[in-house]
């Protein structure tokens, strides 16, 4: 009984927090399925027509695919840049960790707006042809995703003790490449996936940099939502569909991260204790 009474307040609190977070999402989902919803507590009727309409709307589908494509590319570029750098930092040269940590602090120390203006000024002076391109936007997203991916990778490599594993592999005769492929990557797999998800999520949900660097030339999900809200002929049901898709993707990514985080933590713990 004592246990139940101590658990109860926590559960009530959890229910309140869940309701606070989920009610707006549930309302948005309902709105995307509503025929008409004006003054009543619940919609007057339900339909899938907004969803069907969304997926035959060329602009809607393009925006979704474009945003997903950009997020995937940003994830791969971020991982390709960071994986060797973090491994090198952990195994060969811990001193570069200071530089990497300082770089990781930049997106937090500077507002995104300032980073965007900095990129515009820099490219304006030295690479004007890059301005307004998706490549510059991708580069900006990689910079914004850098800290999240770096910490995920660095933590995974620290937990796996990659330096000891690399040294052990080298005493077994393995080349650095064989070590990376056969020993390091399989042992930091969840960390790599988490870093990729972080980069994907950062790019998928980014608005300020996108608006500043490419504007409507490369409309993403966030920009689409903003443009629709600003427009006089906004289709709010369609917007609700996009919001639900956005939320679902973010939710799936979050669940994947929590799951991967648990696997990383469990991998370093002994399953059995025997002598």
């Amino acid at each position: 009984m004592a246990v139940k009474s101590s658990v109860l307040p926590g559960r009530i609190l959890l229910a309140f927090v869940a309701a606070y977070i989920l009610l707006p999402v549930a309302a948005t989902l309902l709105y995307s399925l509503a025929t008409v919803w004006r003054s009543e507590m619940l919609p007057e009727g339900y339909t899938l027509s907004h969803w069907a309409k969304s997926f035959i709307d060329q602009r809607f589908v393009s925006v979704l695919l474009r945003t997903l494509g950009l997020a995937v590319v940003v994830s791969f570029v971020t991982l390709a840049l960071l994986l060797p750098a973090v491994w090198w930092q952990r195994v060969r040269n811990p001193k570069i960790g200071i530089a990497l940590q300082m770089l990781a602090a930049v997106p937090f120390a500077l507002p995104t707006l300032i980073i965007g203006l900095g990129l515009l000024t820099l490219t304006g002076d030295y690479l004007p042809q890059a301005q307004g391109t998706v490549w510059l936007l991708g580069l900006g997203h990689v910079a914004l995703a850098f800290p999240f991916a770096y910490w995920a990778l660095d933590n995974a490599m620290a937990a796996a003790n990659v330096r000891a594993l690399s040294e052990a592999a080298s005493t077994c005769g393995a080349s650095p490449f064989a070590t990376l492929i056969r020993v390091i990557l399989p042992n930091v797999g969840p960390g790599i996936a988490m870093a990729g998800i972080m980069a994907f999520g950062t790019s998928f949900n980014e608005l300020v940099l996108t608006q500043l660097l490419v504007g409507s030339r490369y409309e993403t999900v966030q920009l689409y939502a903003l443009n629709m809200l600003k427009g006089a002929d906004a289709d709010y049901n369609l917007l609700a569909v996009m919001t639900v898709i956005n939320f679902t993707i973010t939710l799936v990514l979050s669940i994947a991260m929590v799951s991967l985080n648990g696997r990383t933590a469990n991998a370093s713990l002994p399953k059995k204790a025997k002598s």
Binding site: L165, A169, G173, N187, P270, K272
Partner: protein, 345 residues
């Protein structure tokens, strides 16, 4: 194929701070030596230099006639057991042991045969398909040893392989390592800070101090005849008397007299088991401060405030002979002149 090792004038500095100063050491084919010393003495650095995981600032390393100084780790043909084992978590015991053979491009049947042989040798047979996180510390240690031995290395390097284990498992595996090393006959370098471990299994013990070799001798010789005050302080349990010469002689109580090497203060080291209780009126007057029962041996902590001395002494004796002795009791102790090791300061 086992090989002798020659280390010639090895030095190593980290950021200008010397870690090793002119290490010269020859290790015979099939010999097991233990690098023994306190933390920071350079023993692990020396092991890593032999492995190729660190480059010496100067000096040469030869495995037999091969100069391996500039060879990569991969090209040195070594096997190494790390302090934390560094087993690959994504592989089973079998895969861990077979990893160096797979890297060397051996056939699947040769790998299976060698892995089975090593599983049997290390008693890991039933655990072959387990992952490292399903093994106890002792089993992980044996897996690491089997992996190191799998490619039949020229040299086996053991970096404090037992330090993470509890006492009972440590004693058992210490004997296992000695047995397996003798079976395979690989030249072996063991790093340890545990003198009992070093004395028990090494053919020769190398005492290291501040980046130098203080003494390299067989365990018995090291124990009986320490070459310096540092070795005397490190090996066994000894009492140190700081004695200033009087009339060219060193004197302790009425029982120890020896000619001084010079006029400076000398260190006289006496093993705890060399002290013995004598009737009142002889030797040094002491008071029992504490009594520590250790099974067959009991240790007495004694305070001595006589004959110009003011210090704590340790006396080890068979427990049976010390049954009547209790803390607070006054005793007299002495030692034989020939049991003392004397070093000029």
């Amino acid at each position: 194929m086992s090989t002798p090792i020659h280390l010639g004038a090895i030095t190593k500095s980290f950021n200008g701070k010397p870690a090793l100063s002119g290490i010269d050491l020859d290790i015979a084919q099939g010999e097991m030596i233990a690098l023994l010393g306190a933390s920071g003495c350079g023993k692990t650095t020396l092991l890593r230099i032999i492995a190729g995981l660190e480059q010496p600032s100067s000096g040469q390393i030869h495995f037999g006639t091969r100069d391996v100084t500039d060879l990569s780790v991969q090209a040195r043909r070594i096997g190494m057991v790390f302090q934390g084992y560094a087993l690959f978590p994504n592989m089973t015991v079998r895969q861990n042991i077979g990893f160096p053979l797979k890297i060397a491009g051996e056939s699947a049947s040769a790998i299976t045969a060698r892995v089975n042989e090593l599983l049997e040798m290390t008693g890991l047979g039933p655990r072959g398909d387990h992952h490292p996180n399903q093994l106890s510390g002792g089993q992980q240690q044996r897996t690491a040893l089997a992996r190191a031995l799998a490619p039949r290395p020229d040299v086996l390097l053991l970096d404090e392989p037992l330090s993470a284990l509890d006492a009972q498992v440590r004693d058992h595996l210490r004997d296992e390592i000695a047995r397996i090393q003798k079976t395979v006959g690989t030249t072996t370098v063991l790093v340890t800070h545990d003198q009992a471990e070093a004395m028990a299994i090494a053919d020769r013990v190398v005492i290291m101090h501040e980046g130098r070799v203080e003494q390299a001798s067989r365990p018995e010789a090291l124990y009986e005849m320490p070459a310096s005050g540092y070795t005397a302080s490190f090996i066994g349990t000894r009492n140190r008397f700081d004695v200033s010469p009087q009339g060219g002689e060193l004197r302790i109580g009425g029982f120890f007299r020896q000619a001084a090497a010079n006029s400076a203060a000398h260190q006289v080291w006496v093993r705890a088991e060399a002290l013995r209780i004598v009737p009142a009126g002889q030797g040094l007057a002491v008071t029992v401060e504490a009594k520590l029962f250790q099974g067959p041996i009991t240790r007495l902590y004694l305070t001595c405030h006589a004959d110009g001395l003011s210090q704590t002494l340790k006396l080890d004796a068979p427990s049976e002979g010390l049954r009547g002795v209790e803390p607070g009791q006054s005793l007299h102790v002495t030692f034989d002149q020939e049991s003392a090791d004397v070093f000029a300061a």
